[in-house]
Symmetry: C2
Subunit: 201 residues, 2 copies
């Protein structure tokens, strides 16, 4: 069986949220599964000297317009730009990694639930209590999920994921690897689709 | 008749070059013409705190790979990343503005010739002599084109274009306005296509 597609994302990334609505179906069309890999973009931003889009002069205003327009273009009705933005994404990222270690399929479910809680319901999932509440909705044990946020082993796992991502050139969200080939952005999903269909171009 | 599509671009922008191969046909499919508007991205970069893509840590390596892959994806066979990159783009921008004041249709022809000279032939079109040579290939008077690069009125015109672009939020290349709606990047051409077909979404 072909290797899973690696889907790297940050919970504070609007394009990551939109991409999260698309990646499973894209992979499935080509007989692939998805490895959901939460990331802390802030760490990558420090290395690359970047900043959150909305904080960049000129680019900021355009970005907010483009988030909403891209949601409409891609048929994602459930998008509302959160008032609090950006947020630190350690809590939801750690819960996903913790869930994934127990059941990879569950990781995708809880990741999508956390993304939706933030980018549609406007819940501040950077708060460990809120993130644990959302995790519990997906059937996970709330106390265990809340505990994962402060678990040194899970913290260390996330740190290694972030370092490993940066070492492989992950500087944005979403960031996808298909058999080692890197693609940055929801707007490369058309290239990913052709890459998967043809084996590369 | 519907208003022309505004196509803002910098002669040192690889994605601008790729987009320049696509914009006329995209507009024509919807009964539109294109207003070719050369821009100096360096001035916008200063305001937005950005840098040329290839100079950004992590993003730089990815960008070079993506330039070439995007060229293949979009069927632009005539693309070779120039050894000298980026370049200042005053000389070709001024020649295009000068040509456009005399004949708007000629501006598109000379713009595409200058872009191709840099991004396929590897000619350094930041050199006014080289830019004038390329302009002459398209039937323009070489001496007059060379003179335009140092003409205070043309210099002033470009300065006003750049200031006007920045005032309207142009921070990247290509940057397209369709009836006032802003689109940044070749990877928004699918959205532009739908916008033109539907009148907005």
């Amino acid at each position: 069986m072909a290797a899973p597609i690696e889907f790297w994302f940050d919970f504070s990334s609007p394009y990551g949220y939109l991409a999260a609505q698309k990646i499973d179906a894209l992979a499935a069309r080509h007989g692939r599964t998805v490895d959901w890999r939460p990331m802390l973009l802030g760490v990558a931003f420090k290395q690359s000297g970047q900043a959150p889009l909305t904080q960049i002069p000129l680019k900021g205003d355009y970005s907010r317009r483009d988030f909403a327009r891209s949601a409409r273009f891609h048929g994602v009705a459930d998008f509302r730009m959160p008032e609090k933005f950006p947020i630190p994404s350690q809590a939801p990222a750690r819960i996903v990694l913790w869930a994934k270690a127990r059941d990879p399929a569950q990781a995708a479910v809880v990741a999508k639930a956390l993304y939706r809680a933030y980018f549609f319901e406007g819940l501040d999932v950077s708060d460990p209590e809120v993130a644990a509440d959302v995790a519990a909705r997906t059937g996970l044990d709330r106390v265990a999920a809340r505990g994962a946020v402060d678990d040194p082993a899970v913290k260390d796992l996330l740190k290694r994921e972030v370092d490993g991502g940066i070492a492989r050139g992950v500087f944005g969200s979403p960031f996808v690897f298909v058999d080692g080939e890197p693609f940055w952005g929801l707007d490369r999903f058309d290239q990913i689709d052709r890459w998967l269909a043809t084996g590369g171009f």
